[in-house]
């Protein structure tokens, strides 16, 4: 039996509609998937931002350590802890133990009961019998009845606020905090950094404004060797790829931003005036 021309046309129209719907569905799924991959998640409460739970692998240990990054960053530069003391940039990658602390490394580099920071001797870490020492609870404090001394809201009340959490830059500028960058017996005396040129990083997409990267701001707390070459491995212009994908996955800027430094979901923080849609 032969099809008449109107039947053929209807069949063709149905096929075209099907193809359009299919293309639309693919586009929709694609954009949903890319949004899942590239768009940064909203950070947790500022008090929990950068919190690291240091797992203990010793059965007799008083449990994991809860490390609050906000507390320590108010007292020390990033460079001091991650270069001089040798803390890895990833949680649980340093190999901290009670014995290394007692030897004067890792937490014990400051927490030795003798070192004076802000006019007070820093309490000694892992100094006694784990079963009887109440001091253990100051760090090994995953349970709520712990003996932690500092509480986020009370501690940060005197610090200048940012859109999210504390404005650490303003806090240092105003002298409310004075992060220590040198530890006797551990740090090496160095000159001040020179030749810190700011530069522009072009965004991969046209609707996002380029970033003006401040070398000065970043090197004050990080020094040079914390970022180069580990996080930013090449000095050749245009050779290093930046993307939100790498940032969200903890590489490049994401080595700090989105973990401990200002969160990634505030576009305007790095892209001045933000993406074009934000201007309207």
């Amino acid at each position: 039996m032969r099809m008449c021309s109107s039947q053929k046309r209807t069949k063709r129209n149905e096929r075209s509609i099907f193809l359009i719907v299919l293309a639309f569905a693919v586009l929709l799924l694609g954009s949903y998937a890319s949004a899942q991959i590239y768009l940064p998640k909203a950070p947790p409460e500022p008090s929990a931002y950068g919190r690291v739970i240091l797992q203990s692998h010793v059965a007799t240990s008083p449990g994991p350590v809860v490390f609050d990054h906000w507390l320590h960053r108010s007292k020390f530069t990033c460079r001091l802890c991650h270069v001089d003391v040798g803390f890895a940039m990833k949680a649980n990658a340093t190999g901290i133990s009670a014995s290394t602390n007692r030897e004067g490394f890792h937490c014990g580099a400051c927490h030795d009961g003798k070192r004076v920071i802000e006019g007070r001797a820093v309490f000694a870490s892992c100094s006694g019998d784990a079963a009887s020492n109440k001091q253990c609870a100051r760090c090994h404090s995953t349970d709520k009845k712990s003996g932690r001394k500092y509480e986020y809201n009370a501690f940060t009340a005197k610090l200048p606020a940012a859109d999210y959490g504390v404005n650490w830059e303003a806090a240092e500028k105003s002298g409310v905090i004075r992060p220590v960058d040198f530890l006797d017996g551990l740090s090496v005396k160095k000159a001040r950094i020179q030749n810190r040129e700011d530069f522009s990083i072009k965004a991969a997409v046209s609707w996002v404004k380029p970033i003006t990267f401040s070398h000065e701001k970043h090197s004050i707390w990080n020094g040079c060797e914390l970022c180069h070459p580990e996080i930013f491995p090449t000095a050749k212009k245009g050779e290093l790829s930046f993307s939100m994908y790498s940032n969200v996955h903890g590489r490049r800027c994401g080595a700090c931003h989105g973990k401990v430094a200002s969160p990634l979901n505030n576009c305007q923080k790095c892209h001045p005036r933000g993406p074009e849609w934000a201007e309207n």
Partner: protein, 109 residues
């Protein structure tokens, strides 16, 4: 009688040996102390220039990278924790000098 004499000699020798040994144990041999001070001084000297890396010449940077390489075997000999901490720091210094050196060589091309 002979046996008693032997025992007395052994006791005297042991008596002399114990204090000598204790003194040796309480203070590390001078050569070790010197070695420790040697590597630490060298380490501080090499890693004290990281902030100046951008203003150093190609020759200076090359020399610093070489010094880092020379220092590595000495740090390898340290105890585990010390080795881990200082090796990490030395790698960071070396990495930075090599990074700046590469960028300076590229600028020259």
């Amino acid at each position: 009688m002979l046996k008693r004499e032997n025992i007395a000699v052994v006791l005297v020798l042991v008596g002399l040996a114990v204090p000598c040994n204790m003194r040796a144990a309480s203070s590390p041999p001078s050569s070790t102390t010197e070695a420790v001070e040697g590597w630490q001084k060298e380490f501080e000297d090499v890693c004290s220039k990281t902030q100046d890396a951008m203003i150093l010449s190609i020759d200076e940077l090359t020399a610093l990278v070489q010094k880092c390489d020379t220092l590595m075997p000495q740090i390898e000999k340290l105890d585990e924790t010390r080795k881990k901490v200082y090796m990490g720091r030395l790698r960071m210094c070396r990495g930075l000098y090599a990074y700046v050196l590469e960028s300076k060589k590229n600028e020259k091309k």
